[in-house]
Symmetry: C2
Subunit: 174 residues, 2 copies
């Protein structure tokens, strides 16, 4: 096992600003391209990250701390962001994500009063018993999986444009 | 085909600073983890990106412009960065990458005097005839593939730590 709270926080702290630098000011073509019907573009991924900050990570952590395994985690709809049209620009969304993440990390830190807090357990509706440290690890890896998704979706936009180099570019085979 | 020079440049401009935000100050554990023997850690990926700026992209573009298909591209050793030990910190490497990229983009722009320049061709040692616009597309997608690699390598560090969530995290299946 490799998890350390402060190292997981390092990743969680960096994601919003890194995405802000990467996505702000990009042409519409990059922000709206996807991998086909039912797949998300970069903007939709950011919206999903915002939803997670609002309704997923902290509510689940709080459930573990207050209810333990007695009550399963509150519902989190992974597609909720697709149901509401947002007029905000990508820059505004990224700013919202950064503010929410900052607030959530400042809430997280005082929750963890000792190493043993990380061993506390809750009930995931599908998996059953899960540990707080697994949930926080997942929060960090969830960032990484969605950064990876954003760059993959963008790379696929040039799938044909790269000509024969397609063969050397692993990302185009995913 | 989706390639537009200015849009490819948007990606090329953003990669160094985004990686600087993402990787600077990270714990050694994140920077040195890899996916097993013969695979690269995040630091080695940055070193590879630096080598590309020095010896791959611009020399190849110049070969197309000056030699056309007469002379194959100069050699580029994709593993050269592994042969030299570097004492530089990740922050120094990222700064070097950013400076080289900036310089290379300022060299690229005056090369492309018209749309037809992008149709010029050169000889790739393995693929044969390739177009300048395919090479520039590849430069951008090459950034994306290596960003994807960095986040994947980091995610795998927590492969077991996430517990049952492993099933939901696509990045851990790559």
């Amino acid at each position: 096992m490799n998890f350390k709270l402060e190292e997981a926080i390092e990743v969680l702290e960096r994601t919003p600003k890194s995405l802000e630098y990467f996505l702000s000011g990009l042409s519409e073509g990059w922000l709206t391209c996807n991998e086909g019907e039912g797949t998300w573009n970069a903007t939709e991924v950011v919206e999903h990250l915002i939803e997670g900050e609002k309704h997923n990570w902290i509510p689940r952590i709080e459930t573990i701390l207050t209810e333990g395994e007695n009550k399963p985690f509150p519902e989190f709809d992974r597609f909720s962001h697709l149901k509401q049209e947002s007029a905000a620009t990508i820059e505004e969304k990224l700013k919202e994500f950064r503010a929410l993440r900052k607030e959530n990390l400042s809430r997280l830190k005082p929750f963890i009063t000792s190493e043993s807090t990380l061993e506390l357990t809750g009930t995931h509706p599908a998996f059953g018993t899960v540990k707080l440290r697994e949930l926080i690890s997942t929060w960090a890896v969830h960032d990484l999986t969605h950064i990876s998704q954003i760059v993959r979706v963008m790379a696929h936009r040039y799938r044909e444009d790269v000509g024969p180099w397609k063969e050397y570019l692993g990302i185009l085979k995913e």
